[in-house]
């Protein structure tokens, strides 16, 4: 019976992230959010371990309340419990303040194994897993593609470009799952019904956690973005050539040469 905690992030579903040039922060308005896809792989790994050995999976996220939809999704996949950690006091957190809050949340839970995704699609720092391990003083392995229990220890496979390493970890431990290594399962109607009718997402605020305001949110975030430079947008000319492919190729070559982009020998 493995007690697992999985950390996920609710992120804007876009590959073209818009940044406010004045504040240097993400513009989130109008962009629908999703569970960070790499985090779904962390949930999948937890559920596979649960399928294999039995156990309990608790999923946590620190986010505004809109993330409830994401937590309902992972409950639909089969997680047992979901906790939304949400408070205005947590807003504006960098990875340090975020990992601090998450570590304090996990501290209140009973756990053997903590699982994170490799990184998020909106900021790609890959900090939070390592930092939580550090706050909780746990062994940490990342880029994990496979995990199993052997003689009370967790044996994990870590995949690098040119080698596969195998580690044996004493529990409790923290691992992060290599992206694109697992295919997250579909939601089940019975799980989704249970979420709606019996097991709604729980919300924990700082009233419950009582964390020092100096350590959380913007004030607890030492990261200072000194400058942000936008990559200038290249105006598109949107010229379309219609007709014969041979003519089109000639036309394109002429255009490219005219722009000084191509020199023909």
């Amino acid at each position: 019976m493995l007690k697992m905690v999985v950390g996920i992030k609710w992120v804007p579903n876009t590959t073209s992230v818009n940044i406010d040039p004045k504040t240097g922060t993400l513009i989130r308005e109008g962009i629908p959010s999703v569970v960070n896809p790499h985090d779904l792989e962390a949930v999948e790994m937890a559920l596979r371990l649960k399928d294999e050995y039995g156990g309990k999976v608790t999923v946590i996220t620190m986010s505004p309340p809109s993330a409830i939809a994401g937590l309902e999704h992972v409950l639909g996949m089969g997680a047992d419990k979901a906790i939304l950690v949400s408070d205005r006091a947590f807003a504006g957190a960098d990875t340090l303040a975020t990992s601090y809050v998450l570590a304090k949340v996990i501290d209140r839970l009973d756990y053997d194994l903590i699982i994170f995704g490799q990184e998020t699609i909106d900021s790609s720092t890959a900090h939070v897993g390592a930092q939580v391990a550090s706050w909780l003083d746990l062994p940490y392995v990342y880029y994990v593609t496979h995990a199993e229990l052997r003689g009370g220890k967790l044996v994990v496979r870590r995949s690098l470009e040119n080698a596969h390493e195998t580690y044996e970890l004493d529990l409790p431990a923290l691992i992060s799952v290599a992206m694109h290594s697992l295919n997250p399962r579909r939601v089940k109607v019975s799980n989704k019904l249970r979420v709606k009718l019996e097991n709604p997402v729980k919300t924990w605020s700082n009233k419950l956690l009582g964390l020092d305001p100096e350590c959380i949110g913007l004030r607890g975030s030492p990261t200072a973005l000194s400058k942000i430079e936008m990559v200038p947008k290249v105006p598109r000319k949107n010229e379309i050539f219609r007709g014969d492919a041979r003519e089109a190729a000639k036309w394109l070559l002429e255009k490219l040469r005219g722009e000084g982009l191509l020199e023909l020998g």
Binding site: S190, K192, I240
Partner: protein, 428 residues
């Protein structure tokens, strides 16, 4: 197949206008209702042109005017006949508020939220694999290897009615029974829209175009103004389009956007969304299937309950109202003692008595008229040729009949013309 531990009075498949209206009406009456939707949010799998008539929705949803996501009230109607680089338009402008533009995603989410507020359970990301039929009676739905049971299922799955097909309740959809709608949503500012189309704040335009706007495919084009975007697209008859289509259908919308007389409207625009969807072309009275069975009712597009006049479409409001009537039928069947086919047949009577069936019967020949190819080429050409002669003759202006005779020559004979006119008068 495993039975889940929950049982419902009613399961509604599809959180579009028909499904949500049905679920809302029943949840309000205290029925235990489950509404399932395969999209990530309600509305992410459906598409419409852009206009909804408000009154049928007011009949269904309490407090509609207080919170529904209305973008602009359509106060301006424009119908244009296009040929070559010319266009003759007919415009009607009023201040009345009868229909409005919106995003269907927003409207669908709004409706599904009403369902939850009324006590219904709404699940997204759930794809129903089949209707469970036991001893000739629909007893629930199968999702993956799980079954959810209910007294009755209301099928509002939309035009691509795979569940009904799999259950053997309807024949496979034929090409000629469907149209294909494709559209782009183009972002403009509020002010740009109001300036470009001569609108005041909150006012909207519905613009139908016929002729050389569909790349030669029988059908029509449309433009609707949203709050800060326009929906531009076309609907082509699928049976004909399959024969005549030359390139990817998205290119036809692109050609429409780049049309020399239209391109000016979108010059500062940014394409936000592209979508395509089937549209019912032949509506219910002409389709050989019933809308009720033991434990089952069918509503909305799945039932073919959409009115397409060629110059106007009534889809969302008809769908919602049919869902509402399906809910009424369930109530009545409940009072009569159960969800048998006999008790549920009251649904067809309710439809017959409502505006929906009266209208569908009245206009049952409208789709035949739209099959007439002359509508898309000959008539726009003749009309534009007349206008051209009247306004672009530098010295000698012809009499109108003279211009008409010249325009008609070689394009259409008197006999066909009279036949078409009579046909049009009779059908619409």
């Amino acid at each position: 197949m495993k039975e889940v531990g929950y049982k419902f009075d009613v399961i509604v498949v599809g959180a579009g206008p028909a499904g949500s209206a049905a679920a809302y009406t029943l949840a309000k009456k205290g029925f235990k209702v489950l509404l399932v939707e395969r999209g990530r949010m309600p509305g992410t799998k459906n598409v419409f042109g852009g206009r909804v008539y408000a009154d049928p929705l007011r009949d269904v949803f309490d407090g509609f005017d207080d919170s529904a996501p209305i973008h602009r009230w359509v106060t301006k109607e424009r119908i244009s006949m296009v040929s070559g680089e010319a266009m003759t338009s007919f415009e009607f402008h009023t201040r009345k508020k009868t229909s409005f533009t919106t995003y269907l995603t927003e409207l669908s989410c709004w409706m599904a939220k009403r369902v939850e507020e009324a006590g219904g359970t709404v699940l997204t990301e759930i794809t129903v694999d089949e209707l469970v039929v036991e001893n000739g009676r629909v007893t629930g739905i199968r999702v993956g290897d799980e079954k959810v049971s209910s007294e009755v299922v209301i099928d509002a799955e939309g035009i691509n009615r795979l569940l009904l097909e799999r259950a053997g309740l309807v024949p496979k959809l034929e090409l000629r029974h469907a149209g294909l709608g494709v559209k782009e949503v183009i972002k403009l500012s509020k002010k740009e829209i109001e300036d470009l189309f001569g609108l005041e704040e909150g006012e909207g335009l519905a613009w139908l175009m016929m002729g050389e706007v569909t790349g030669g495919l029988p059908g029509g084009a449309f433009l609707y103004t949203n709050r800060d975007s326009v929906s531009l697209g076309l609907v082509v008859m699928l049976g004909e389009a399959v024969k005549g289509v030359r390139e990817h259908i998205s290119r036809y919308v692109e050609a429409l956007r780049l049309h020399p007389l239209l391109e000016r409207y979108f010059r500062n625009g940014r394409i936000m969304e592209y979508s395509a969807h089937l549209v019912p072309e032949y509506t219910w009275p002409s389709l050989p299937h019933r809308l009720y069975a033991d434990g089952l009712l069918v509503a909305g597009d799945a039932a073919g309950l959409l009115l397409n006049l060629g110059y106007n479409f009534r889809g969302v409001d008809y769908a919602a109202y049919s869902g509402y009537l399906a809910a009424k039928a369930v109530e009545k069947a409940h009072e009569m003692g159960g969800m048998t086919s006999e008790n549920l047949s009251v649904y067809e009577r309710l439809l017959e008595e409502s505006f929906i069936m009266k209208q569908l019967r009245k206009f049952r020949n409208a789709s035949k008229m739209r099959e007439n190819g002359r509508l898309y080429s000959t008539y726009p050409e003749v009309l534009n040729s007349v206008m051209d002669q009247l306004f672009h003759s530098p010295y000698e202006v012809p009499k109108i009949m003279e211009a008409f005779k010249r325009a008609r020559k070689g394009r259409i004979g008197w006999l066909d013309l009279i036949r078409d006119l009579l046909g049009m008068v009779r059908s619409i």
